[in-house]
């Protein structure tokens, strides 16, 4: 199924969260097609969890929205603005880097392997983008960074470098760093997959807090089905570069319609 059930509004909602509208997006790595004429809509403020077998392209969805991979064709709209295109006459033309940067400032991403800057303290990691990109003063950025660190429970680790932190702590700093630029949509790419099992909880708690605040749209790729059921507004089952089925998590998890979904959920539950 590819047609969405409701007509989405892809601008921004009252809280400032931004929606996404992907139309006919294709992406191939060599002969391996990972996104196939993908249409996907995410409402402003919606929390969408994307599940699917490994290699199905679910991470690539986040990466093309974050502009880490350029799609081969198709359009992506973020917060009502075209990401890779600019209006030109009646149609669209490929966007300049400047335009892409401007739209990209609404997007934040948290990575599986944290990707913190190892030569900076936790505080400096968080302060960098607000100071260098968003023109905040150092004092303002420092105060905000402390607040964010406090929010993720790491105020005491402000002056530690990533090398001194545990995996869960690193990921919480990475989330704080991403929040510091106040993104209208946040992408979470298997943020708990690289963590020891006992550290997963502390990161999921932070994600829950962000979800409850509702200031940002969230797109999560995860294998934590329990968490998906609890937090997601919508669950998207993704396979072979296309959306296989999507709906409220309880529906998809308990009564999957597609055989591939049943197979995948069965394989995940066996563990």
């Amino acid at each position: 199924m590819s047609a969405p059930d409701t007509t989405p509004y892809t601008g921004t909602n009252g809280n400032g969260a931004a929606g996404v509208r992907m139309r006919g997006v294709n992406k191939a790595f060599g002969t391996n097609t990972v996104l196939r004429e993908l249409d996907l809509d995410v409402d402003p403020g919606e929390r969408v969890v994307i599940i699917g077998p490994s290699g199905s392209g679910k991470t690539t969805i986040l990466r093309v929205i974050m502009t880490l991979e350029r799609p081969d064709s198709g359009t992506i709209e973020v917060g009502g603005r075209q990401l890779y295109h600019q209006p030109a006459g009646d149609g669209l033309k490929p966007a300049s880097e400047k335009h892409i940067r401007s739209v990209r400032s609404d997007i934040g991403m948290v990575f599986q392997h944290f990707n913190l800057f190892p030569h900076m303290t936790a505080l400096e990691n968080i302060m960098l983008a607000p100071v260098k990109v968003h023109g905040q003063s150092k004092e303002e950025a420092r105060t905000n960074a402390f607040e964010l660190l406090d929010k993720v429970g790491l105020a005491h680790a402000a002056n530690q470098t990533p090398g001194q932190l545990s995996g869960g702590q690193k990921q919480r700093v990475a989330i704080a760093r991403s929040l510091a630029t106040k993104p209208k949509i946040m992408l979470f790419d298997e943020v708990t997959s690289a963590l020891d099992p006992e550290l997963v909880g502390e990161v999921l708690n932070v994600l829950r807090d962000i979800a409850e605040e509702g200031k940002t749209t969230m797109m999560l790729v995860t294998h934590e089905m329990g968490f998906a059921r609890e937090v997601a507004d919508r669950l998207v089952m993704f396979d072979h570069g296309q959306v296989l089925e999507s709906g409220p998590p309880a529906d998809v998890l308990d009564n999957p319609r597609e055989a591939r979904t049943q197979e995948f959920l069965g394989a995940v539950r066996e563990h």
Binding site: M66, H156, A158
Partner: protein
């Protein structure tokens, strides 16, 4: 106040330019440069004031007597090396960045220039540079400056390859995080990529510094003064070769042993910090 922290309670770390260990090194460097700039005698007059033993046997008295002359030549060689290498470090980074450029009209000519300079001998380059500069009437540098420029350009190409390897060694995730934070190219390079790449490059740069010093006597081709010039001058004046050339070997040892030791220390320190 409901928040559990106080912004003043956790002290931010001192900026790097106010840290004692960094300042000491910077001041030592500045003093060293000042000394090389003003304290080195660039004259090409190397004359002994003692007649060597006429039997052509090794004359220790004569040997020790020449030490201050050798020292003067060594300092001139070190000066050319250090100035040349200063050029190489910055020019090499420029080469490395131009070569990475997405614009092919920029990256391809740069790659060609680097390959060309790397695969031609520095001796030939020095002759060419000397001849070239002599055709200009608006610039007539001292010969030791020509040597420094020649060494600088030649070693810039080697340094650029080292930088390239160092930049490639920075984890892909660091680039992606820079994109995700929407950092501009200047912040991305100066705050994220280079601070991680340069420590990886330092040992290679140190090795090139030692290599550059060993190439500096080629300055004899452009009549630049230096330690080889000293030995040649003595041979020409006193018809004695064994003592001055042996002393030259001692001079190189004095200069390169501490350099090699520093490079090894740097390598150890960097591997330590990575683990």
């Amino acid at each position: 106040m409901t928040t559990a922290f106080d912004a003043n309670q956790v002290q931010p770390p001192k900026p790097w330019y106010r840290r004692g260990d960094v300042l000491t090194v910077l001041i030592a460097f500045a003093l060293g440069y000042a000394f090389l700039l003003f304290g080195v005698d660039e004259s090409t007059r190397f004359r002994t004031r003692l007649n060597p033993d006429p039997d052509l046997t090794f004359d220790w008295m004569y040997f020790w007597h020449m030490v201050p002359l050798m020292w003067r030549g060594l300092l001139a060689t070190v000066k050319a090396t250090v100035y040349g290498f200063t050029i190489a470090i910055f020019l090499g980074l420029v080469f490395a960045l131009l070569r990475r450029s997405k614009l092919r009209p920029v990256s391809w000519p740069t790659a060609f220039v680097i390959e060309f300079i790397r695969s031609t001998p520095i001796l030939v380059q020095l002759y060419f540079l000397h001849a070239l500069i002599r055709t200009w009437d608006w610039y007539s540098p001292a010969t030791i400056t020509i040597l420094a420029i020649g060494l600088g350009i030649h070693y810039a190409t080697y340094c650029s390859e080292a930088y390239r390897a160092g930049i490639n060694s920075v984890d892909k995730g660091q680039w992606e995080a820079s994109t995700a934070l929407n950092l501009g190219p200047v912040s991305k390079w100066t705050k994220v990529i280079l601070p991680q790449a340069i420590p990886n490059v330092l040992p290679a740069l140190g090795n090139y510094l030692v290599a550059a010093m060993k190439d500096a006597p080629l300055g004899i081709a452009v009549n630049a003064t230096g330690i080889l010039f000293f030995a040649n001058a003595i041979r020409g004046g006193d018809f004695r070769a064994v003592e001055p050339y042996m002393l030259m070997g001692v001079g190189f040892l004095i200069a390169s042993l501490p350099a090699a030791w520093l490079v090894r220390r740097l390598e150890r320190k960097i591997t330590y910090e990575r683990t």
